[in-house]
Amino acid sequence: MELDSIEKLLEKYFEAETTEAEEQVLREYFTGGSVAEHLKEYSTMFSYFSQAKEERFTKQVPLKPRVNYYKWISVAAVAVLIFGIYFGKQNQEQKEAEYAYQQTKKALGLLAQNLDRGTQKVAYLNEFQETKQKIYKNN
């Protein structure tokens, strides 16, 4: 590459008017071995640019496939809900049964009481019977 054209390109370069191809030319010239003495300073710039290009990102990025938590949470919620309804219902049924049992017991108790009273009253009939017997015997 002619020194003259390199200088011209350099001028354009600092005005930011060079095309990518022209910049490539400059870069090759300045990173190559034979740079004119009075342009040596610029080679630092271009060699820095090409060195900077070599830097790599080496860190490993943990890419976990995103677990769809919502799905499992809703499954769990539905399960809990169903269990809740099931056991709640059972509980209520038990309570109802208990209530019915209590009521029945009460009713039966009442019945027994009344029956008892009835038999007590009926006991007077025996009195009548005995008296009747006495009368029969006396006759």
Binding site: E41, T44, A52, E55, F57, V61, L63, P65
Partner: protein, 169 residues
């Protein structure tokens, strides 16, 4: 989109994201964290990725915005400066030292540039983006990109020449 497909999409430009982040955040740990963050964000919205015309440009803009936010937030008041090792080939030790030293200057000089200039210079001279792409990425007018780039290059030249003539690192 499976993990392998995602990596195939992301692999070609993840280094560019990292370098951009590092240019803005200076510290390589910060830049690594930022890049990781960006990649994870991309992964999280991988379903929508097919919709983006240019995933690379999209990711680049994301990185830019993320880093600028980082810089703005107070936490980053104490960014660390991290020196990278410049390893390369077949020059003599003396020369190598000299070159890596002055090459290091360029990095230092770039650190002093305003963010906009940093980004434009990074995208153009290191990542070889076209003016249109840069304009789109940075949400700037193409002419503004040119002006900024010219300014950035001239500043680097000026400071580099100063250093060379005074020989002070």
């Amino acid at each position: 989109m499976t993990q392998t497909e995602f990596l195939n999409v992301v692999m070609p430009f993840k280094d560019k994201l990292y370098r951009m982040a590092k240019r803005l955040l200076v510290s390589s740990e910060e830049a690594e964290d930022a890049t990781q963050e960006i990649l994870m964000k991309l992964w999280a919205r991988k379903k929508g990725m097919a919709k983006y015309r240019n995933v690379e440009a999209f990711a680049m803009t994301m990185t830019k915005n993320f880093c600028l936010d980082r810089l703005k937030s107070k936490q980053s008041g104490n960014l660390k400066l991290v020196h990278s090792n410049y390893a390369d080939g077949n020059t003599s030790l003396q020369q190598q030292l000299e070159v890596s030293d002055s090459v290091h200057w360029v990095e230092k000089i770039m650190e002093t540039l305003p963010e906009q200039q940093k980004m434009v210079l990074q995208l153009r001279d290191i990542e070889d983006y076209s003016f249109e792409e840069i304009a789109e990425l940075l949400e700037m007018q193409p002419t503004a990109v040119r002006v900024t780039l010219s300014r950035a290059r001239k500043t680097v030249r000026k400071k580099l020449l100063e250093k060379h003539s005074y020989g002070i690192g």
